[in-house]
């Protein structure tokens, strides 16, 4: 029964993706050819018969162009993206001069955390707003928006457009997300989190009181800004806002990534997660 349900879930997502892609294709602004850094454009590639040539695919940079739009006028956020959230340290998203308003009890939790216990290292989800260093895809429809993650254990987030949070949601890794449009910005309001995931390698904690408000703005064809406000009176003295930017990977397709397949890292990791070695 369980596998049947999973199969149905995947089929539903595939169907939504197919419909969404078909609906959006005609109005998506054509991407200019992705450009290469000069140093990369001329770097040997291809390998083949020459054993001295290291094969390497040239690195893509964000394509230039206007923000694509859907027939209803809203920005089209769909595509494969890279980045857009913290990986090593939540503080990377702070504005200059700002600090994370960590409460003393939360700092004590962080000080005790060991890297080996990082859920992400143990192939559990990143939660929000953390991102895994692998591509992810936005699938956008008028009623739902899905974030499909390649890394981050090949899981997905579901954002219900113009919906309503349940009164007493069960605590989960991605919580309950409701989306609305504020002009050209997609606002994603999420509550109902569990307290299991870490915000970053350093182990910034949170409680089940966590409430996130993500504001996604596609600044142009190649850049998606995520301005996320963290509200958690259990671990932080006041709300704070972080800014991250995802980059479009126009030629990329997601690949399978089953993290649990051969995880051998966590058992060899040592030391406190909050040490400066993980800046």
């Amino acid at each position: 029964m369980k596998s049947k349900l999973v199969g149905l879930q995947l089929a539903a997502i595939a169907a939504v993706f197919a419909v969404g892609a078909a609906a959006q294709a005609p109005t998506t602004a054509p991407a200019k050819s992705s450009t290469l850094n000069p140093s990369e454009a001329t770097a040997p590639a291809g390998g083949g018969a020459n054993p001295d040539v290291v094969r390497r695919r040239p690195r893509e940079v964000a394509p230039q162009g206007p923000t694509p739009r859907l027939p209803d006028g809203h920005p089209d956020l769909s595509g494969v993206w890279n980045g857009g959230g913290p990986v090593g340290d939540l503080a990377q998203g702070l504005a200059p001069g700002e600090t994370i308003p960590l409460l003393p009890a939360a700092k004590a939790i962080m000080d005790k955390r060991q890297s080996k216990d990082d859920p992400e290292a143990n192939c559990l989800p990143t939660g929000i707003p953390r991102i895994a260093p692998y591509p992810w895809r936005i699938v956008q429809t008028p009623t739902h928006i899905f974030f499909l993650f390649e890394g981050n254990i090949h899981s997905f987030r579901q954002i219900i457009m113009n919906g309503k949070h349940p009164d007493d949601p069960d605590p989960t890794w991605y919580g309950n997300s409701i989306g609305t449009w504020d002009g050209d910005t997609l606002v994603v309001d999420t509550i109902g989190f569990n307290d299991k995931f870490w915000f970053d390698f350093r182990g910034h904690p949170h409680t089940e009181q966590l409430h996130t408000i993500e504001r996604y703005t596609r600044k142009d064809l190649g850049k998606l800004e995520n301005k996320v406000t963290i509200i958690d009176p259990g671990d932080y003295s006041k709300p704070f806002t972080l800014t991250f930017t995802a980059t479009l990977r126009p030629k990329e397709e997601l690949m399978e990534y089953i993290c649990q397949e051969n995880q051998q890292d966590a058992q060899h990791m040592q030391g406190n997660s909050g040490l400066p070695q993980n800046p």
Partner: protein, 132 residues
């Protein structure tokens, strides 16, 4: 050829900082102050997530064989770089430079893998980059 190789090295050096991160803190698992150079025979290749791995039998001067577990990037990252599951084969003679696991086990992150003909493979594994 020599000039071309020098150019290649310079080009890849520019690419190195762009290397992606692993799903875990690199610094918590590997010690860059424990560099290792291992020369041996590939006994197994695991083209699996979250990291591709290969295993190496290394014989020392006294003939004693030790078995090493070498970590690479994820297969997805390696494929995007142009490598494949056929790049390294059981029986290949290789020299590996990398960083040993902090817990002292015979496990390392493979920074460079050089085949017996001098060809380098799996260059710039993403978990080569220090965590940020």
């Amino acid at each position: 050829m020599k000039a071309a190789f020098a150019f290649l090295v310079a080009g890849l050096a520019l690419l190195a900082p762009a290397a992606a991160l692993a799903h875990h803190s690199f610094a918590a698992e590997y010690d860059t102050k424990k560099p290792v150079t291992l020369k041996g025979t590939v006994t197994n290749v695991e083209w699996t997530n979250p990291h591709a791995r290969f295993y190496l039998d290394v014989k020392d001067d006294s003939g004693t064989v030790t078995h090493w577990n070498l970590e690479l990037a994820s297969p997805n990252v390696l494929v995007r770089q142009g490598w494949s599951r056929h790049t390294l084969k059981v029986g290949d003679q290789v020299t590996v430079e990398g960083a040993q696991a902090k817990d002292g086990s015979q496990m390392a992150n493979a920074r460079t893998v050089t085949l017996s003909d001098g060809k380098k493979v799996f260059a710039f594994s993403p978990s080569d980059a220090p965590a940020q």
